[in-house]
């Protein structure tokens, strides 16, 4: 039951983009088309899941036993950077068009605060290994959900008559704000 709660919380309630406001950069940058938004979501989900696992291992097997908690941030950065490199190579090999579509946002997952936030929040909450896996995967799904919803809305917005000063980033931020409000409504689910 605890695991289900963590999963639902990560996907809907404490959604990384819409609750913590982490990872806004790709959320706004790659949400113009549903296709590339979906791929970006998958890439982030992959990185998040693996990061959660590897950072848990490092944190609990190396850092905490030797009293090196203060190295958390540095070592997590190392994990994230390596994993993003790996994903980048992988996507370039598997699908060059996708590689082109994601463009600069793919290496930017490295500096995506959502990934770092995930590792730190998991460490802060002292999740067990299984809980961390569920939390990491759920957070990725939450990010994917948010970015796909955003892309769907923005595809529709292309056809709408948006006032001139709000075109582009302006209307995107307003939409993101309204979406965050809507997701905040889920808070009542877990009490």
């Amino acid at each position: 039951m605890e695991l289900v709660a963590i999963f639902i919380s990560a996907v809907l309630i404490q959604n990384f983009v819409l609750y913590y406001f982490l990872g806004i950069c790709p959320f706004l940058g790659v949400s113009k088309k549903i296709d590339s938004a979906f791929s970006m979501g998958l890439a982030v989900t992959f990185v998040m899941s693996i990061t959660a696992v590897v950072s848990w291992l490092i944190n609990n097997l190396i850092l905490i036993p030797y009293g090196l908690d203060y190295l958390q941030i540095v070592s997590f950065i190392l994990v994230i950077a390596s994993l993003v490199q790996l994903v980048e190579m992988f996507i370039r090999k598997i699908s060059p068009p996708l590689y082109q579509a994601l463009g600069i946002y793919l290496p930017l997952i490295t500096t995506n605060c959502a990934i770092m936030g995930l590792a730190l929040i998991a460490a802060l909450n002292e999740y067990s290994f299984v809980e961390t896996v569920v939390f990491g995967f759920g957070s990725g799904i939450g990010f994917t959900l948010a970015i796909i919803l955003m892309a769907g809305i923005r595809e529709q917005l292309d056809l709408a008559d948006v006032p001139e000063p709000l075109k582009g980033a302006g209307i995107a931020l307003i939409v993101a704000g309204i979406m965050a409000l809507a997701f905040n409504g889920f808070i009542g689910m877990l009490t």
Partner: protein, 269 residues
Amino acid sequence: MTDVLIPVITMTALGFLFSVGLVFAYKKLKVEEDPKIEKVSEMLPQANCGACGFSGCRAFAEAVVKGSAEPNGCPVGGEEVAQNVADILGVHAGEIIKRVARVHCRGTHSAAINRGFYLGISTCYASHLVGGNKQCSFGCLGFGDCVRACLFDAMHMGEEGLPIVRGEKCTACGKCVDACPRNILELHPLTQNILVYCRSEDRGPLARKGCKNSCIACGICVRACPEAIVLEKNLAIITDYKKIDPEKIPEIEKCPTDAIGRLRKDDDG
């Protein structure tokens, strides 16, 4: 001392572990890419205008290297780029005929009659939807959609209300041709100095009423040079300018409305 050593050793070990992992992954996942693609891509203008028929300069570079496009396929880069690309690939560049966009209308403010005032959105496209403000329904609308479409600063709106193309700046990318709702612009070889400056398919008297410089399909030019000029839908059309004998040009320029003839100075600003 150990307080310093332990974290340093830990981080070094971790870093080493990950780098070894990445090296192996790189060996497994390396993408073999033809280095020529990068080189050709560097040669191109990077305007990503799409005039070559591909989605961008990068796509064109890939196609050239693969052999599905000719080195001279980039109209914007012209001869120089074609030569550079051909050098990289080690093939012959092929001949490039420099083309430029030409305006096929002489419906200036003084020549064309207005049938009313158009006060709507000031683009040719919008104006065209309601028929424009000129009597002639084939002529230039004069709102400069083509000028705005030009990526290379080769066009401007003349004082007479017609767009003017600067031949030396025009790259024949065709953006203006697409932008014009009335198909006034067309790409021609730079060497072609004789053109029909009218698109009107109205019958003679009607065309004449709308614009002093319209083609009235009198046939003088066709009689002067029947092998290269024909009449089609009340409009003279040059089928092949190379067949026009230079000696016959004065004959052709007897056109009573100036709708056909050599380029004037102010046609190429």
